[in-house]
Chain length 329, copies 2
DNA sequence: ATGAAAGCGCTAACAT
DNA sequence: ATGTTAGCGCTTTCAT
């Protein structure tokens, strides 16, 4: 491995000069700079980021923790974070908790030591654990609210309300909510928004779950749904909704006829599904991008947004899985 | 930040002892160890991984480069790599090239310096660039073949042959291939397998493209397909296939009747689609897991698999988008 | 504009 | 079993 010193002797300058050429080129004489870069190229020298990190006390890395990489919502979130981080010249560490609440904390803690900042997407760990992490590295939360910690929130209350209004307008006199992970902030938000809207419309509210956000959860949920005589269901997310639809079709209940189904996320899946899924659009990519920008502000000492949570809006996208209630037809 | 030295003085031992307690606990007297860990806890000390990396010359990190994080194929690949890396106690850097061939090399090179090994998934860069990277860090390639570089390959020839056989059995007298990215090894494999199989069946072979693996590419491809009077089409991947189906439905050509469509990947999308997509199953997760294991072997000096490429099999999954040729009915 | 020297936090011979 | 010492490769005062 070729170091700064070898370049220095070869170019007939001191190590400091070589260092400057790579960190603050403008302060070194252009002809010296020229010579140094030329030698560096010839020797194939490139700075050792780790040594650099140790010296300046910053890693140039960001960390991102998500529950499930393959879930389309998080996949798009990751993508946006990656793009934004790169734009800022930062590399991205990524880790998945796989919805395993227990491993989450040690995992994140280990990562926190080697990054300049951390984005936690829908973390399941306790408030106090998050507080401890904040001591180690600047943190931005996505879909989790905690006093004194910067966050970007997608409350989805608007979208859920729109969803229930939509159902009410179609004449449904009740709806069931297929709940997501028990401790998820997002789930709590959705649940209470739906419940509130149902009350306002004098619709009955039933809850099933909790379900992990997987396709299989949805297929598992479908039969109880039929048994309960439901006519309308809102799932925690698109993935679950799609599972429901799949099983419903197998059971020969026509979705968008006998049963109305609404998902959340508007992942690409939703538009492709059959029938196309009515869903609440959630700005995943936007959330990721905003989170990174907040983190960057934090790192730069700009006090981002006055420490207030940034809230992103949601909206109902009506497609073909919702229809008038059978009784109302 | 509390360092090893502060712990040392507080515990009345030398820094080396503290260091040992954290790296090779078994070599230090259990009572000293006890005292040190206790002090460390009290002071909230945790080792600085960056300093450690510099000292031992290894980072404990793996890097993964993918063209598109949100593509389900890569999403599942990433997930498997992440799981496998974590199991080995390694953190994972991830970067996306977004199918931008130009940025790819510098990006990867920067990452190569701070990881112990690299997995390149479907890289688009040139052979010589890859060769240069191999000088910097151990590398395992996925779906790219290069003499002297370890790789895991999914040639998909079997699957494509099965796909064409299937079409032939349904009475189609030709098929069109919606090609993927021009320089992609995978695309070349698929193309030649399809072409070969068509020749064997005396079927006509037509190619359109290249297309980036996106839904929109597929919708764009559909009209020319109709115009060309095609009865059967094999898309580079599921995502494109789904786009085709979507546009075909809009144009009111019934998929699985007038037109047969086959995808590749068997992403979750395929089963959910409408109608369910006939597709060639590609073991994305398996590929990721195997790649990490090969990399680990490389790092350990075990010469993995004799340096031979590991090949993973593919198989046709027949669902509902393929049907007898209209003429043959 | 450049150089000398100290140090970032940890590890690894080598001694004891 | 533990301490001493000398780095790992880079940055950064402080001089010049």
């Amino acid at each position: 491995m070729v170091t700064i010193n070898e370049v220095a002797v070869e170019a007939g300058v001191s190590p400091s000069t070589v260092s400057r050429v790579f960190s603050r080129p403008e302060v070194v004489n252009s002809v010296t700079r020229q010579r140094v870069t030329e030698v560096a190229d010839r020797l194939g020298y490139t700075p050792n980021r780790i040594a650099r990190s140790l010296a300046i006390g910053k890693s140039g890395n960001l960390g991102l923790i998500v529950p499930d990489i393959a879930n389309p919502f998080f996949a798009h979130l990751i993508k946006a974070v990656q793009v934004e981080a790169r734009q800022a010249g930062l590399a991205l560490f990524i880790a998945e908790t796989d919805e395993h609440r227990l491993d989450e904390y040690p995992l994140v803690k280990a990562m926190a030591k080697q990054v300049d900042g951390l984005v936690l997407a829908s973390p399941r760990m306790s408030d106090s654990q998050i507080r401890e992490l904040v001591e180690i590295a600047p943190i931005v939360l996505i879909n989790r609210k905690l006093r004194g910690v910067q966050s970007v929130l997608i409350p989805s209350a608007d979208g859920m309300r729109q969803a229930v209004d939509h159902l009410a307008a179609l004449g449904h006199d009740g709806c069931v909510y297929l709940a997501g992970p028990r401790n998820s902030w997002t789930n709590l938000q959705r649940r209470s928004a739906i419940r509130g809207a149902c009350r306002r419309h004098a619709m009955s509210y039933t809850e099933m779950g909790p379900f992990e956000p997987r396709f299989e959860s949805g297929v598992r949920a479908a039969d109880p749904l039929i048994a309960a005589g439901a006519t309308a269901v809102i799932a925690y997310d698109d993935v679950i909704a799609l599972g429901v639809i799949s099983r419903l079709s197998e059971r020969e209940v026509r979705v968008g006829r006998e049963m109305s189904v609404i998902g959340v996320d508007d992942s690409p899946l939703a538009a492709i599904a059959c029938p196309p899924l009515t869903t609440v659009r959630v700005p995943a990519a936007k959330a990721g991008a905003v989170a990174v920008r907040l983190l960057l502000d934090l790192l730069a000492g700009r006090d981002a947004n006055g420490g207030l949570p940034t809230e992103l809006p949601t909206d109902l996208i009506v497609r073909s899985t919702t229809a008038p209630a059978p009784a109302a037809r």
